[in-house]
């Protein structure tokens, strides 16, 4: 994997290389966090600690940045990313009921992942398909004009 790092853990080595590439660049933190999330899928404490040490930025500051941007996650992400649009059009068309139904069916909250690592629920802003409001995307799939009763059936498609 890496020429310098010999810790034997591929992902840790990969992140180490990313940190080395960015080390002396101003504003390195956010690009490094993006790369780290790509490598690990999420940003647990061990990953943030590695970045803190590598970039010499306090863990408190890094955690502040990670929690500020909804793009970053400290929880493992599921195989299927359910994005419920809460933009204005979807919202007035009852997106909140759809979101509640997903939460109820999967027994998790927004930002969390089911224990089998299958689903994560995210609340997102306008996805640009207002004509189909209310809209939900699951990975690359788009579901429009939903009512709460549709949710169960949609999830069943992914349960197999």
């Amino acid at each position: 994997m890496s020429k310098n790092c010999q810790c034997g853990e591929d992902k840790v080595c990969q992140l180490d290389n990313v940190i080395k590439e960015h080390k002396n660049i101003a504003g390195a933190l956010i690009p490094v966090l993006h790369e780290a999330q790509k490598i690990f899928g999420y940003l647990p404490m061990s990953v943030q600690k590695q970045i803190s040490k590598g970039l010499n930025i306090s863990l408190a500051e890094i955690y502040g940045v990670v929690t500020f941007y909804s793009e970053f996650s400290t929880e493992p992400k599921g195989e299927y990313q359910i994005n419920v649009c809460l933009g204005t059009a979807c919202y007035v068309k009852g997106a909140n009921d759809i979101l509640e139904q997903f939460k109820k069916q999967l027994k998790i909250d927004v930002g969390q992942t089911t224990s089998d690592n299958k689903f994560s629920i995210n609340a997102c802003r306008c996805v640009g398909a207002c004509g189909l409001a209310p809209v939900v995307t699951i990975n690359e799939e788009v579901y429009g004009k939903l009512v709460a009763d549709d949710v169960k059936g949609i999830l069943e498609k992914y349960q197999v």
């Binding site: 404490m45 408190a60 500051e61 955690y63 500020f68």
Partner: protein
């Protein structure tokens, strides 16, 4: 420094070109309200309370971060300014836990004072509230985010001044809050409990753990012999809690009040400081003469010791093995004093009044005990003592007592100056010089190590040896100094480090002064003046001439650095990992 012409509310004035509009206004007696602003520490324009109109700019501007420039025309009081300030304040109040009557900062709260000043008598916005659990796990600090107004003074202090960096703004928008990574308790992060965050908090979002009830319980327990010891810096600050000017010496009032509160004996930690000098001075000479690890670094400040354990483990062998004066004195009280007075050490409760909240955590360290008994049982801050005095109905202004109790009462001026940055160094030099040269030191005032500069250096001639000394206060300065030592840029024999900027006089347990007061006075300077005034008036000003200390070695301890001393007065340190994953 060049000057520029500006106009404030129609008054033409000339001000230095590096002034902010806020500073300029205050100079002509226009007191623009502020909330997040803290001179030199937090000038970020976050709270929008100091809004003004500037003819050359659009919209309202935050005066604390608006630099003056030639011809600037400023209005500080108009309909739109008053409305904007009031609305902002009401919005802050709408998500604030307004239980003011039972609040620890009742009457010393900057938000409360501002609400009164801006004449807020009703709240137009009663919206959603964020609710946070209290962080009660630390021995020293309580965090209550329900009181937090997000001014970020604590972050500036923790991150920029102290370089401890264990708190930051997390989440966003309505859910923004100040917390530690992964919402860990302050107890579980590399917080050093310096308490500087408490001293700058305008509200009650940060406070010390209140141990006054434990002290009252001890006093009320007639089977216990309860003794109290008071740190040097407490006596020059406690008066502020009773409306006295900053830097008023109140030793007599404090001793009298402590006796009236009901302590069986009132002793002085300064004696512990004299003892520290004997041990630390001996340790320094031993290291110098035997090729020991240098530079030797002082270990009186528990905030600094914790900082070193987390951030500079490679310097742990440089730390003096001496316990702090408080701990040394506690250990002596539970052994020598117990024996002398024929009281079972288990029945002695040692209470310490400290300018410090890290002392609370220090007293709980398992190694700070002898024969299974903690050296010090309870630590209360200067602020907590003031509360007890008020609660007991004692008139602080009239109560007075001439001296601390025998047989542990009389301390030297060298012990007193421990309270200011450079004091331990000065006290050590006074003693080491005379031990080495066997000649009296002509001038006891070692000016080169005094003053509030963050890092000070001195070369002291001791016989034919030149002692290279350095003093740092504030852990940010300590970090700078140690990095220079590490890189080989600097080289010293002896370093004094205090965790708090200015030393103990500005400790995290000292009376809190508002941003407005801190803009006018340098607390470190005013309180240190009182410390040095206290030193000068004492007949004994060198630790080794303290009669009690001499007697203690003769009757009990033997030699400084001897076997018994090591058992009672010395300690060891731990290499601590930041954020262990097992949490």
């Amino acid at each position: 420094m060049g000057k520029v012409n500006i106009t404030i509310d129609g008054i033409d004035m000339k001000v230095p070109e590096d002034y902010s509009v806020l500073e300029a206004a205050r100079e002509v007696g226009v007191d623009i309200p502020t909330l997040c602003y803290l001179k030199d520490i937090n000038e970020i324009g976050a709270c929008r309370m100091c809004l003004v109109e500037i003819k050359q700019a659009r919209g309202l501007q935050a005066s604390c971060v608006y630099p003056v420039s030639e011809g600037l025309d400023i209005i500080t009081n108009s309909e739109s300014i008053r409305k904007a300030r009031k609305a902002t304040l009401e919005l802050i109040l709408s998500n604030h836990d307004r239980s003011c009557l039972t609040c620890n900062r009742n009457n010393s709260c900057e938000l409360q004072a501002l609400s009164d000043r801006l004449n807020v008598r009703e709240l137009r916005y009663e919206g959603e509230k964020t609710l946070y659990p209290l962080d009660l796990k630390s021995h020293s600090i309580v965090r209550d985010n329900n009181k937090c107004i997000l001014c970020r003074r604590c972050i500036s202090m923790c991150k920029n001044i102290q370089t401890v960096s264990v708190i930051d703004t997390t989440e966003r928008g309505f859910y923004s809050n100040i917390s530690s990574p992964f919402d860990l308790s302050l107890n579980d992060v590399p917080c050093i409990s310096c308490g500087q965050c408490i001293n700058v908090c305008p509200v009650n979002a940060l406070r010390e753990k209140d141990d006054t009830e434990l002290v009252w319980d001890a006093i009320n327990d007639k089977s216990k012999h309860v003794v109290v010891q008071t740190a040097p810096a407490t006596r020059v600050a406690i008066g502020e809690e009773f409306g006295l000017p900053i830097g008023t010496r109140c030793t007599k009032n404090m001793v009298g009040a402590l006796r009236r509160i009901g302590f069986d004996k009132v002793f002085d930690t300064d004696t512990g400081a004299d003892l520290t000098i004997m041990e630390e001075g001996t340790e320094l000479l031993h290291r110098l003469n035997n090729g020991g690890k240098l530079p030797m670094i002082t270990s009186c400040s528990p905030g600094w010791v914790t900082f070193c354990e987390y951030n500079f483990p490679e310097f742990l062998d440089n730390l003096s093995t001496c316990k702090s004066p408080m701990q040394m004195f506690g250990a002596v009280l539970k052994t020598y004093y117990a024996k002398k007075t024929n009281i079972n050490p288990a029945d002695i409760i040692v209470v310490a009044v400290m300018p410090c909240i890290a002392k609370k955590a220090e007293s709980k360290r398992p190694e700070m005990s002898v024969n299974g008994l903690a050296d010090v049982d309870h630590v209360i801050t200067t602020r907590e003592l003031a509360k007890m005095i008020k609660e007991a109905g004692i008139d602080f202004h009239t109560i007075s007592s001439d001296h601390y109790d025998d047989p542990m009462g009389d301390a030297s001026g060298a012990g007193v100056i421990f309270g200011a940055t450079g004091g331990v160094m000065e006290a050590a030099i006074r003693t080491v010089y005379e031990i080495v040269t066997k000649k009296p030191l002509d001038n006891l005032d070692i000016i080169s190590v005094r003053g509030i500069k963050g890092i000070k250096e001195a070369n002291v001639q001791i016989g034919d040896f030149t002692l290279k000394a350095a003093v740092a206060s504030g852990t940010g300065n300590a970090r700078k100094l140690l990095e220079m030592v590490k890189s080989g840029e600097k080289d010293y024999h002896f370093i004094e480090i205090m965790a708090c900027p200015g030393g103990c006089v500005n400790g995290g347990g000292q009376p809190i002064q508002s941003s407005a007061v801190r803009s006018k006075y340098d607390l470190r300077e005013e309180r240190a003046k009182a410390i040095y005034a206290e030193d000068v008036k004492l007949s004994v000003r060198k630790s080794h001439e303290n009669k009690l200390v001499q007697k203690l070695y003769k009757e009990f301890l033997g030699e400084p650095g001897g076997h018994k001393s090591h058992e009672l007065l010395h300690t060891h340190y731990i290499d601590r990992e930041k954020y262990p994953i097992s949490q």
